[in-house]
Symmetry: C2
Subunit: 346 residues, 2 copies
């Protein structure tokens, strides 16, 4: 009985030392995840005494959480390539090696983005045929969420990379988010095909030729918050600018609105009455509630959550890993890349 | 007496046919500008009977507005290069030729961005030594406004272009906006010098060498709304994405907030009390109140306002032209480019 249960479980390695609120929030996120669902096993990687100390605050089904010791911690400010190479006993390196050896399905970290990206490529490794693994966060829109692909470290991308991003993003949105025939668009500075920089002009016709994609053309940045596409393809520099401006501008506007609403006595009373209803709206534009960003195209799943992730974002990221495994996203990506390579070879 | 007055006036050519609300709003904007200030003369360019018909709705000092006939109109959807070449009798071509022939100081249009950019370069022409004229809108921040340079059509820029953008932007912010030693930053995907794409990595050390600039390093998109820099340097594709996402996300959030605040009866009452105070906040994040975006580095001033510009934005853009002339921005840009060219030649 026990064995059967184990076999069906998704095994998620969680970096207990990563992020601004580690180890408290990652550990709480792990506990909440296993308390909510029986089909999850979390392997907490980090300094064992510290992690066990945190765990002792909770009661949880003990068979669903294990602790693996990792002596070192990679700090956010460390140069990532050197950190991954030198700190073999860090929670990121130890955790990713568990995924590499197929002892776990996924790795989740709120730690150094650079180290997660470098480790993902270097330790977990790319799926055969994938040129570059993109980081693909979900961003909130008026209609729900869209996948922004790529926001990672792959700057100065080539057109063939962007086509693979479109394919992987499409698989993810269809099978993890359940969007039928996801609309794929490329970020551009105008709606017409002849607009754009060299990269976009070269990529546009390639995307148009992809009969397996529901390519809807260019999307201007103005239309992104309106939810005009499900998969928003761009190279990493532009994606990073979009993601960070999204977070920064939402936070600044929400701060300004709160301040504006409490600037007079009359408006303070108004704010007290209106804020409960408003909170739902503001929450829907809070990127942290959608879990982490997957690094797609690897031999296993790697998920990067916000550095400021609290337990709820960690828990949601763990749930995301279950859907990813259940829907066999990597199997689908492999098949997709293989069949498109065959088509292009014809 | 009359002649002396004329000599001191700033002559602004206004495209009466450009924008979503032409000719009504441009004409109203012109009337408001000359009613407010004696030192302005507006030359309205467009179909004369239409423009005169609009003007007949107002009383204004008639010596400060003249009308110049232009039979043709360039539509927003027209390919700009062909439109500028073929429509010699359009309001944009006729108006820009007045600036070229030094019969006016500045040209303002809410019409086709592409045509304004192409006409600015092709008709008004670049200042000697300027490689590319950047479009530089002001964007609202928590602390006031920042200049985002370049948002134009100069995609795939080179490092030397970005250095010129930094210099021109710095002159503009110091002498039009009155910011002492404007902080210049380059848009990047991390704070460290070694981060970024090839363009940013190549430009960063060049900016560091510019002793005439107050270069403060990289700025991540997240920090832009916080007002962490006065001059935000980037190539046009990235600038366009930032500008349009700024507009789109602000609009979407403000819509969502209004909807959220009126979702229940209690919150409706709250909204009624809080909205007057809130409006000031929301207005400070409304890009349209800051006038248009100058196309810098030309032999004369060209200003592009929003396609949806109302009279107030047109009027503000006309005032902006006066400051531009009074502060001799083009003289300063010429001197700046000349002296930096000499320095580099040493």
């Amino acid at each position: 009985m026990q064995q059967n249960q184990d076999a069906g479980r998704t095994k998620v390695v969680l970096d207990a030392m990563g992020g601004d609120y580690a180890p408290a929030e990652p550990v709480k996120g792990a506990v909440d995840a296993v308390c909510a669902r029986e089909d999850i096993e979390v392997i907490l990687v980090g300094q064992e005494d510290v992690v066990r100390g945190e765990l002792s605050n909770y009661s949880y089904p003990s068979g669903q959480i294990t602790v693996v010791h990792a002596e070192e911690v990679i700090e956010t400010a460390e140069p990532p390539v050197a950190a991954i190479r030198k700190k073999k006993q860090s929670s990121i390196v130890v955790g990713m090696n568990l995924v590499k050896r197929k002892e776990a399905d996924a790795f989740v970290s709120a730690g150094s983005s650079g180290a997660v990206l470098v480790g993902g490529q270097g330790i977990v490794g790319r799926i055969r045929g994938i040129e570059r693994p993109p980081l693909a966060p979900l961003i909130p829109t008026e209609k729900g969420v869209s996948l922004l692909i790529d926001c990672g470290a792959n700057v100065d991308a080539r057109p063939s990379h962007l086509v693979q991003f479109a394919r992987m993003g499409s698989v993810y949105m269809e099978h993890v988010l359940g969007v039928k025939r996801p609309r794929v668009a490329i970020v551009n500075i105008g709606a017409e095909e002849e607009k754009g920089n060299a990269l976009v002009k070269d990529t546009f016709p390639l995307l148009k030729e992809c009969t397996d994609l529901n390519f809807v053309g260019s999307i201007e940045a103005r239309e992104i918050p309106r939810g005009e596409a499900d998969v928003i393809v761009c190279e990493a520099f532009v994606g990073n600018v979009i993601l960070k401006l999204y977070e920064g501008l939402s936070a600044t506007l929400i701060d300004a609105i709160k301040k504006g609403m409490t600037s007079t006595l009359k408006s303070k009373i108004g704010a007290a009455l209106a804020l409960p209803a408003l909170k739902g709206t503001l929450k829907s534009f809070d990127a942290t509630q959608y879990g982490g960003a997957p690094l797609l195209g690897l031999n296993g799943l790697v998920v990067k959550t916000h550095g400021s992730a609290k337990a709820v974002e960690i828990t949601n990221s763990i749930f995301q890993c279950v859907t990813f495994k259940e829907q066999d996203i990597n199997g689908r990506i492999r098949k997709n890349i293989l069949s498109s390579a065959e088509q292009e070879g014809m």
